[in-house]
Symmetry: C2
Subunit: 411 residues, 2 copies
């Protein structure tokens, strides 16, 4: 049995966290976080597919490959992405890990590092050292502080947790924090996520579960279509609850819980997207296959014309159909239908207002359409009438504030 | 010998044009155009690759396939795209052509039609009829009126012409008008273009020349990455100058002139892009092949983060490198270098300021970089260090005004 996803995190057995300020952000805001396990974790990671990978991404890929069953800590700094920083960047990531290892009394090889912020500048190592010192002295259960300390242009911390009961009645927790507000592409983004569980599971199961959960959560959100150099989602499983996921039933419960936590964190990233005024759920059904549905959904969700129309509260379905038509996968306008509904939904029964019906505008009330698309949450259902492929993508509008935020990010 | 591309059009032998107001636009603005030849033209067309094609696109494709050596006129309406309009849309396009045929005393099958404007509404046929009447009575040499009458969100008409001298000393003209300010994707856009020449040439040569010229002009511009349902470029050759392009030398001169005219019109579309404050020339060299170079250039030119950084006058090279890294083609940051220069240039010698040098930030003055990227025209040179592939893409920044224009286009 899986419970309800909470927007907060209480205690997760065997894990301690901290979020501190070490001068990376101005105004004393929290800017450095640690997530620490009191025992070795099985750990899995999913990383950006950008060919330009930040130093911490490269370092973590190495660490997980060689030491993925004995991870003890994750350190996260903001303010500097440590990307495009050459050999010194790699060295700085290693030094950060070594300082964390010293402070916690664990091996450097058991420490993962994450960075987010401006590309192309070196880590201010004096501040990082200070952050490690402070955070390792402040470890506790304040997950909100840790989630706040990994924020960049985010306006609020993102947390999710869920309590799971196994077939035999034991309980364990899956919990996670994430950040990311711009550079959110179809395939991850300037996003970081750390998911923990106090259950134990095999390394191969952890990796498979994280990859699948990511595919249907973090890989299904679009803010602006840009993909960053730093995107990383990590999963740490320490077994401190005493639960071992050693049968298919319990493993399936874990996977459902992990996907629920990742989906909540992914949606929160969109909800808090740069300059967002509207949350949009794009459902595509009847595509040739699931991959085609995802491609159509991503193209709609990435279209600046679709996004600006939503910002303006304009039910401009022509732009949605035009975006679908250029997605690079089969589409026949004569078989395609488009509905809208207020709120967040993927239930076909919830869509009563048809805007486009097989090649031509449907008969609908423009006033009713406007009433729907001016809501804070709007859902689309595009049925392609070609096959069984389906996908749901979560996205947002493109507003003046997005332009303001990104026009002057570094200055 | 090919002359200089002019931003105006004088007389083109055998062609007459008109631009009139028939009530499609408010405030009496010109909204309907005719381009007419006094004799049959060889005609070629390049159309949107969007699977959702507007009625006039479908009709023109048919007409060119069956009657491509005897075209007499092109009619263009604004205000309504006649896209997603079903069978009635096709019928309306045919009726428009038949009215033009009647008014000019030519066969309906010799008339091409183009539409641009809102998707999903039917052509207001009473106004179209009025437009045909007025325009056919107003034919003359006022190409500026015709270019003005095809504008939508454009702020100024786009014209280009060039006089070409053949090997034997005869002269002919290549001239064109275009429109398009948003929905400008890597592969055409909400753009229309009509190119005419008073030279004669074989149909196959016309089609090949137009396809090649389009590939290096209209297919190399990006405003927002959206591709419309209506994109069309037509070439009409009537031979009224007495020049027949019947040898490779003269054909090459024609092709160069056509490409020059198309490039001028394409660049003018970007310069007049929705909300544009900066014109950006993206040069990619050293890619694995030309297709990879184009892909990298398009990804950079389409990136909202790159475009907003340019709007803000921020030399944020990290976003450019990150965009290149997600283009889906080979890139090795350790071999990649990025330069910038003020103005419009594709000459490698013009780039003196290196921002990124093989994996790491170059040593440069931020003040000097800011001085360059705050110019009205900025050029990039990204050398991938992998092969001989190269491409040049023209694009613009993403501003508050783009969001304003597209957030409230229909209202």
């Amino acid at each position: 049995m899986t419970g309800v996803v909470e927007s907060s995190i209480g205690e997760v057995a065997g894990f301690k966290v901290a979020g501190v300020n070490c001068g990376l952000k101005k105004d004393g805001k929290l800017d450095f976080a640690l997530v620490v396990s009191d025992r070795p974790c099985v750990a899995a990671g999913v990383f950006t597919t950008n060919l330009v990978k930040a130093a911490p991404v490269l370092v973590d890929m190495d660490v997980l490959a060689s030491n993925g069953e004995a991870i003890r800590a994750v350190a996260v700094n903001t303010g500097c992405a440590n990307a495009c920083t050459g050999r010194k960047g790699i060295q700085d990531a290693h030094v950060t890990a070594s300082w964390v290892g010293e402070a916690l009394g664990v091996r450097q090889e058991s420490v993962l590092v994450m960075s987010t912020g401006v590309i192309g500048t070196h880590l201010p190592m004096d501040k990082i050292r200070q952050g490690v010192r402070q955070a390792s002295a402040a470890l506790g259960d304040d997950w909100t502080a840790a989630a706040t300390a990994i924020m960049t242009t985010d306006t609020r911390p993102k947390l999710a947790s869920i309590c799971v009961t196994t077939a035999s009645g034991q309980t364990f927790t899956v919990a996670g924090i994430s950040k990311g507000a711009g550079m959110i592409a179809p395939n991850m983004a300037t996003m970081l996520g750390v998911i923990v569980t106090d259950a134990a599971l095999p390394l191969a199961s952890a990796q498979a579960a994280l990859r699948s959960a990511t595919e249907y959560s973090f890989n299904r959100i679009v803010v602006d279509g840009d993909m960053s150099t730093n995107d990383t989602v990590l999963l740490l499983a320490n077994g401190a609850s005493g639960v071992t996921l050693d049968n298919d039933d319990d493993l399936a419960r874990f996977e459902a819980a992990l996907r629920a936590v990742c989906t909540k964190l992914a949606q929160d990233i969109v909800r808090d997207g740069e300059g967002v005024t509207r949350f949009i759920t794009v459902n595509v059904t009847g595509a040739l296959d699931d991959a085609a549905a995802k491609q159509i959904g991503n193209t709609i969700a990435t279209s600046p014309l679709v996004k600006t129309a939503f910002y303006g509260g304009d039910a401009n379905w022509g732009r949605i159909i035009a975006a679908a038509g250029r997605a690079g996968v089969p589409l026949d306008p004569e078989r395609t239908r488009l509905w809208i509904a207020a709120g967040e939904t993927s239930d076909p029964g919830a869509f009563s207002l048809c805007l486009f019906d097989r090649g031509i505008a449907a008969e609908y009330s423009e006033a009713e359409a406007t009433e729907i698309v001016t809501q804070p949450s709007v859902s689309l259902l595009l049925d392609c009438g070609l096959g069984d492929g389906q996908a749901t993508i979560w996205t947002c509008d493109l507003s003046h504030d997005y332009v303001s935020i990104n026009g002057h990010y570094r200055t």
